[in-house]
Every structure is written in C-alpha cells, then in structure tokens.
Symmetry: C2
Subunit: 228 residues, 2 copies
Amino acid sequence: MSKCQQCIIREFNTLRSLTADELKTMSKEKDVLTFKKGDIIFKEGNAINGVYCVKHGICKLSKLNANGKEQIVRFMKGGDMLGYRSILSEEPVTLTVTALKDMEACYIPKKEILDAIKENPKFSLDMMKTVCGDLRDANASLSNMAQKSVKERLADTMIFLKETFGEDEDGYLDIVLTREEIASVVGTATESAIRLLSEFKKKGFIELTGKRLKVIDEVGLLKLSQGF
Amino acid sequence: MSKCQQCIIREFNTLRSLTADELKTMSKEKDVLTFKKGDIIFKEGNAINGVYCVKHGICKLSKLNANGKEQIVRFMKGGDMLGYRSILSEEPVTLTVTALKDMEACYIPKKEILDAIKENPKFSLDMMKTVCGDLRDANASLSNMAQKSVKERLADTMIFLKETFGEDEDGYLDIVLTREEIASVVGTATESAIRLLSEFKKKGFIELTGKRLKVIDEVGLLKLSQGF
DNA sequence: TCAAGTCTATGATAAATGTCATATAATTTC
DNA sequence: GAAATTATATGACATTTATCATAGACTTGA
C-alpha cells in the first residue's frame, strides 16, 4: 500500500505540516479509494466521518436548489482536501461531490485529523489558513455573482478554468464540462450559456470543438469580465 | 477598565473556550474601542494586526466592485469576531467594515489569538468551527444569489434581517438600512429594490415607515422566497 | 429655518436573461 | 449499427431587471 510519507500530493495541502510520526499513523489508518467519472463521492446531507485527500482527478462541489437545479459552487483537484468543513463543524455535508474525471483519493478518518489539530499547532494553523482562503474566495464569488452580468461571469469562468486546470497539448482546457455544467457554474440558463459561448467563439475569444474548449484571447476575456 | 473575564458577550463567540489565564492576558492587552454610526472600522486592503470582538452595535461587511458599486457580503453584531480571517491567513483584509449603529468593540492583538490557537486546542477547534460555519453560509448565499430571482432574494433578505436582528417594541426591524443598502445585500439596482419593497407592502408582506421596516407576513415571504 | 443635498418613489424605456419550441448533432444502449 | 436518448444550437418571444428621467419627501448644516 502506498504510504502518505512518500506521497507527493501532500506537499500541496495542509498535510505537509504533519510530523513524520503523525504521517505514519495516518498512513496506517487511511483507505485509498478510486472513483469513476460520474461517481458521487458524497451527497448533500450525508454524515461523513473522514476527509478525502484528492490524489488526482477533478470533481465538482454542488448544491441542489429548491427548484431542483444544480448550482456548482467550486471544483477540486489533486492536492485539495474534501469534506474537512463537515468534520470540523460536526455537521452533515452541505454539498454534493461528483467526479468529473476518474479520481483517486485517500480517505482519512476524522480522528486522525482532529488528533493532529489537537497535537500539532502548525497543522492547526495551516488548516485554518486553508478554510480562511476558501472563505475569502467564496465571498469574492458572491460579490461577483451579485454584481456582474452573465456575460462577465462567463468570461471569468473561462479564465478561471484555464488558470486552474491548465491546457492539454493541443491547447484545450484540461477539464471537460457539459454546457449545462458551465451554465451552473456561471449561474444562468443552459441556453444562455450556449448562446454566449457561441458569441465568444464568433468574437475570437475561444474555440469550441464539441465539449472541448480552448481559450484564445485571455486578455480579451479579462477586459470583457471587467465590463469593457 | 472592563475585564474580558466578566464580559458576557464572550459566551457568544470562540473566546468562551479560553482558560481563565488566557482571558486575563487578553484582557491586559486589549483596547476597548467605540465607533459612531457610519465610521469605517477597516477598509479593503488594510493590513490589520488584531481582531475585533464586537460588544454591541451592528456593522456591514462589504466589497467594492470594479464598477465602484458596493456589495454587502454580510452583517455582524454583538458576539461576532471581526478580522479573524485576515489574521489567520496572514493577508490584508478583503472587506470593508462600516458601523451601521454606534458600536463598541474590543481590539485584541493578533499575538494573543495566535498564542491561544497554539496553546489551546479547544479554542483552536472552536475557531475553526466558526470559520467553517461562515464558509457554509457563504456557499449557501452564493447558490441563492446564482439561482434565485431578485424578488426571491429580497424576500430572503427580509426574513434574514428579522431572524438575525429581531424587532423593537413596535415590531419594526432592529436594523435600519437605506434602500441602497438593501439593494446591495440583495444584489440589484436601488430602483428595483424600491419597486419590489413597494410591491411587498401592497401585498401586505411588510410595512414601510420611512426607513423603518416591519415584517408582517413571514410565511408569505417564505413562500415567495421559494418561488410560489 | 431655509437652502442644498440626499433619499425615496415611480414612470418610461431599454437591455439582459429566461423560457419554450424545434432542429440537428452526438452519444448511448440494446 | 440502428434506434433511442441526450446534448447542443438557435429562433421567437416573454419576463425580469437595469437605466434614465423626474418629482416629491426627508435630512442636515449654516
């Protein structure tokens, strides 16, 4: 079985603050899980008893609204920790997590995390920094959602996807989303998203090949996102 | 000078998890500050070196957007802790805080908070719980902002204000906002907010007396907020 | 107390966005 | 590999929301 001590992904998250001993215990207790594209890792309302340290793959975190529509709140990828909010606040999870690519993730029982927080102030602070960063981002998203137009938000989303997930060898975004999912990130109707994507394509901001998407003019998108 | 040990408000926030000794040190190091309605406590971009424990009063946390518009992200009142996100993530603050009522708040230097986190796991966990709760709320707001109509969001806001700040002896909300501020919470144009408030009044959901606002039919508002 | 400024209210209109309908393209399933 | 299903695309139209204009009500400060 793979050992946490030798796992590179750990350098990208708060687990880097653990001592060798703590890592060893964690390694013993963890499960290595795999998920196929489309698999649900956990659902809104579920009570989970551990966190997931994503090794690779991409997933979406979403919320179902009263009208049954899905709202994508954020994405996670290798290095991100999933479910820690629920563990720390001792509440069921409030988001549904779905794999967008095949994933591998380590499930670390809650006890290990809570022990480490109690024993290791460095880990504890690092953990807080992560939550605080997430909170800052969530506030910024809220403000954008409230004040920007759909077009501006779509431009933001294109840039965000490129910056976050990068491009493959052909220059296409290394994340594949349906139009419906794009609409759900932006917070608009699927048809509106489709229309605007076509417009962006016509204006030379992006290229579309089926579901694959290439950002051509990032500067143009950036200007657009700021209202020009 | 007032002592933290005897401060009741402490019971409402994470400082309740401190030991008597820790409280004593904190009490020695803290400043007691007052703010008048309209005063700015700190501004987006400022580097702060402590947190504010609100004793009483109400303030708004807002963000300026590219177009110069204010977006109110949340409110805080007695018992809430202000500025902890910035301290914990060692970043400048990303929100501007403005008093909406006269306020009293204790300024606690960063060192005291960080020391307590290092020394006291109970405080540390309690602190995390707070941040995580804020994060959960921010995600929920994001989802609402993305998927609800302006009318639904205004109904939500009315209910939220009543639940959070309560009513005075005449049944009016114990928080007074301008129409512009209400619009900023909801994320809409001031005129749209005014128009919808008039509509709500006509339909008997609320009563308006100048800036004072009374919720009459909370159930009606709730239904409306869910799209009926 | 009055004049200036700000806030609230409302109409008219424009712009943005959502909804419904339909057609084609892509994907899945048997 | 053909039929069924699902996803994408686009037009037509309805609805929501923003913007501009104007007027009266309320505050505030000299």
